[in-house]
Subunit: 341 residues, 2 copies
Amino acid sequence: MHSEGNLSAVKKLDFEEIQSLLKDELATVERSLKEHAGSSVAVIPIISGYLSNGGGKRLRPILVLITARLCGYNEGGGDITHSTVVEYIHAATLLHDDVVDEADIRRGIPSANAKWGNEYSVLVGDFLFAKSFSLMADHSPPGVVQAISEATKFLAEGEILELVHSADIDLTEKEYLNLIFRKTGALIKACCQVGGLLGGIRGEVTGRQMAALETYGENIGIAFQIIDDLLDFTADEKTLGKPVGQDLIEGHVTLPVIHAFANADEKEKIFIAETVKSRELSARRIGSIIELIGKYDSISYCKKMAENHIDKAVGELDCFPPNEYLDALKGLADYIINREM
Amino acid sequence: MHSEGNLSAVKKLDFEEIQSLLKDELATVERSLKEHAGSSVAVIPIISGYLSNGGGKRLRPILVLITARLCGYNEGGGDITHSTVVEYIHAATLLHDDVVDEADIRRGIPSANAKWGNEYSVLVGDFLFAKSFSLMADHSPPGVVQAISEATKFLAEGEILELVHSADIDLTEKEYLNLIFRKTGALIKACCQVGGLLGGIRGEVTGRQMAALETYGENIGIAFQIIDDLLDFTADEKTLGKPVGQDLIEGHVTLPVIHAFANADEKEKIFIAETVKSRELSARRIGSIIELIGKYDSISYCKKMAENHIDKAVGELDCFPPNEYLDALKGLADYIINREM
């Protein structure tokens, strides 16, 4: 028994194996995303489809699907509906986020606001939010609307905090972690809660299992954002689908910069603070910041912190019986820490 | 019995009497609006409070309160919670609307986007949307989340339609009515549905009564927007809290213009079409449009159409027993048609 547990702890699916495990469900999610964005107002499916077809890993639907299956939910369509809901909420956030950041590029192609203007991005985002809650009103078991709406509130708070702390070199690591929990961790956590709640319709999901799902979701969410913030400095533009140092250009102070700043000497501190405040950044200046991040080994520091969150995420999962969905959750945690885009 | 019905049909409360009838409840709603906008992110209650304290007739909360009481709901707090919900959704829409219209003035004071920037308006709006659904997740009886989320979807569609038809002189009267139903009628209708659904918790609300509430809400909503669009040309800036002809400046083609255009001669048609397309409008040009609206008696036409909707709204209300809440609904319909701001 013990050795089987260990074996299962070692077995992990990679991202392609996870996609393959959920092949049929993910195809149904794609159809659902298209179907529910329908509107008598023709431009709505065009804009939401533009974003939807522009790539995206479908991480949130994948989490809903895996956790629902892990908890014994395998028919009834609630997993598909709620996969659609969380992806719409994510898409709405991206639309609004790009307006806030005045972004021109998203996933390597012109952002929706660059293509159609801020107005459409704001309003199609609103439509997707409303559609999400409308879908939930029809289909959600108790607790789901609560989990998702709380996450959506956190999301808005996270985005606002990011704005409040724009170009704020005094942002502490603790404030940063609070911010990225709200901005990214909360919705990812909610995806896992939804899976557990769906499972609870069919059979018993223990309190310990629900707590493990929440711990998992929250921590892979935080790790995901730390890695995202690190890739902004280490990946190349082509892989990233946006310019290197984009966060810096947009005034977002992220963990690599916080760490380098904390370790920098007085002269370097002044340079970093000035750079963060400046809205027109030369490639050379960004290069100098990347050098400082290298000098103080800030990337390793970030990676280590992300790994700690991943360890915490998977640490309590053994309250679930070993099966391929558990392997998928563990594999997903690995994917998040090792991804290069 | 018949004469009592007639008497009741004649008795109507004016707006101040309605406010006085609901004095305690409206005070509780104000406290609730303040309380639930609380957040660890300090700027959120500041911005939402700025909008909230800047006037506003609280029409939507009033409708929830009256219809809930009319349907026998008078304890449990659901009326207060849902008054808060609909006012937050309305406020979120105003925040996003001002971003879309690039408005500088709202209710006679600088708009939130003019004061804090588009970013905050977008994100605090999102927070209020999320908070609304979070409140409903905790407190709503069956059907309420559905009604409100459908209305929110219509709202987004209405705003998008307005954008699609920006400066579009070919907008038909039918398209205009469809647009204002979505933009304004749908949420006002939902307020009345919510009152009915709350009533249904305590006792019986018949199908006919629910239908009457929906007809009432939808039609006073449409009438409200027609009057709004008419006041844009007939009221003075001080009463209006924004410049005369503001809709025209923002490219919104409304019923007075549609009617004048339909009746205008060829030369006037060209002048109106040019004016609608132009983004820089002189006071003189706006004056000429107002003259044409006067020449073709377009204001009377609009008023008549609004009156027809008001008649339709109150026409089916007699399925409710006569009481002061019924008088309030009838009085509110009168207020909407006769208001000057």
